[in-house]
Symmetry: C2
Subunit: 327 residues, 2 copies
């Protein structure tokens, strides 16, 4: 499966936090592109970018919790670098040939290059998080990476596809929410916050990460090719049932097309198009959006526990925009 984890345009705050440019400089400094072919490949991946939602969350939460600027920048860069590393390995694992409309390293070079460039990015991410000087931040970072990797292998090792909400939530919790949780939880470890704030900060990130992925999966059904850059129903085409399909399945437990997909069998394209239409026409999409909204609400109530401030308003806007952009 190709998973788009980038933030959609609406999530880009109009006021760019000034530190975000420093994060970019820090990322670029990790790979000056001159010392080895490996660094050149990684430099290209970093420059190709994405919207940097994770570093934005780090900077805002860190600002809210009064973290010193220097370790906060290192943390923001570390998490974006970790994200880049997991994308490189995911593209290999999924056999994806395109990401963000650009040929993947796996397609362009080789599996060998992808493994090694991803590994190298992990080492640079580790170096950045070490620069925070906080062993507990490094520890949370490492555990997030373990969660992501473990989730992906559980998915490929499963004898059949995802067939219910619980499996789906486990999966997106690992592949997306874990890194959002790290982005908001780790700043708390660098601050003087108490356990309670740290817990609220983590809960906020996890919740909006879940909502973010659900809305991404909804978008795969609702967007047309012109808007999304690919035909709708791509997840189903790759045999993956996401929340809208699972909700539809709950109402139609014997749907033969879904049963075939769950059993990892091929579905003729005509049947697939019909299935996508059926899911779009029912209320599964709306129900999925409501589930996402529920996560956003949980995130907002966690946010309410944190100190008030400009950054909290910005975090609230980001949280609300996750669902509102599709409203």
């Amino acid at each position: 499966m190709t998973i788009t984890l980038d933030t959609p345009p609406i999530l880009i705050a109009r006021r760019q936090p000034p530190q975000l440019e420093q994060v970019e400089a820090l990322l670029a400094s990790q790979v000056d592109g001159t010392r080895s072919p490996l660094e050149a490949a990684l430099a290209q991946l970093i420059a190709a970018g994405g919207k940097r939602i994770r570093p934005r969350l780090v900077l805002l939460m860190g600002g809210l919790l009064a973290v010193d600027p220097a370790p906060l920048l290192y943390l923001a860069a570390a998490i974006e670098m970790l994200h880049t590393a997991t994308l490189v390995h995911d593209d290999l694992v999924d056999g994806a040939s395109l990401r963000r409309g650009v040929e993947t390293l796996n397609a362009r070079a080789s599996a060998a290059a992808s493994v090694l460039v991803g590994d190298f990015a992990f080492t640079r991410a580790a170096r950045l998080v070490l620069a925070t000087g906080s062993l507990s931040a490094v520890d949370m970072f490492t555990e997030a990476m373990a969660t992501i990797v473990n989730g992906e292998l559980t998915q490929i090792a499963r004898p059949r596809g995802i067939a219910n909400r619980e499996e789906y939530f486990d999966w997106i919790g690992a592949k997306t929410a874990a890194l959002f949780e790290l982005s908001t939880g780790a700043p708390a470890l660098l601050s003087q916050s108490g356990m309670e704030d740290a817990s609220s900060a983590r809960r906020f990130g996890y919740a909006i990460g879940m909502a973010f992925q659900i809305m991404d999966d909804v978008l795969d059904f609702t967007s047309d090719a012109a808007h999304l850059g690919k035909p709708s129903g791509q997840d189903l085409r790759q045999g993956i049932l996401t929340l809208p399909a699972l909700i539809y399945l709950e109402a139609h437990p014997d749907d033969p097309s879904l049963r075939l997909l769950i059993n990892r069998q091929r579905l003729p394209e005509a049947d697939l198009v019909q299935l996508v239409d059926s899911i779009r026409q029912g209320n599964s999409i709306q129900q999925a959006i409501e589930v996402a909204q529920g996560f956003v609400n949980d995130g907002l109530s966690a946010l309410d526990q944190l100190p008030d401030g400009l950054e909290r308003s910005e975090l609230e806007k980001i949280a609300r925009s996750v669902v509102d952009r599709h409203g």
Copy 2:
């Protein structure tokens, strides 16, 4: 290329350091085999083992430098886990189907599984090294991983094969000596040793790592199939010129077979067998062993700078055995 990094039987000290069993327990505890298919795969790799030369070096050097037992055990397990992780990814990069006579994960499962199991092993290695509580040890650990990965990618990205000693030393320095250097250098960071002892400890590990790999490469020429478990000349067969071949090349710069290999072209098996014979018959092997002996001597002189003690004698024995086993 398949690279055997395991220590040969002669290197197994007769007296097993008692802490080595604790290291084994610590490794096993990282992967209890019940929580996920990923952990089960990793548990199998760890159980398959190898001779644990790196943890032995950690324990001996740590003992010599009076490091506390608990962080030392974590460090020893971390380095062995890192070694395991790099082997899993190397097997994928090299497309190797066998390691230690057992089918590799890459051959048995898939590239995807190999990437993820290797990544997971990295996270477990990171967790173990974090348990030492030393940010500087974690930093040295991360840099060693970066060196290993960078060396491997430099090798696959090179337009032609290794063609001189400098390239060869760079390559084995990254793929083998870096981890040996970490094994002896990191314990110094956990001790009260001064900079000078730390530098000697690193130099010792690096030097015997270099000698170790050179002797491994010599063995590929001198051993017969029955002894090595594979026909001699495997490195050349995979297009890799190691030190004996490079020394032969210095004396025969226009050798057409070696030129073909350097240009990454296929060499007929008959020509290859003849080439291996020519290299074996000349004095290239002896010269290569002398180069290895030079590294051992350098390692021993570094060791002389360190405090005297039982562990130093053990380390000296290990260093001497690297070359003597082939004498």
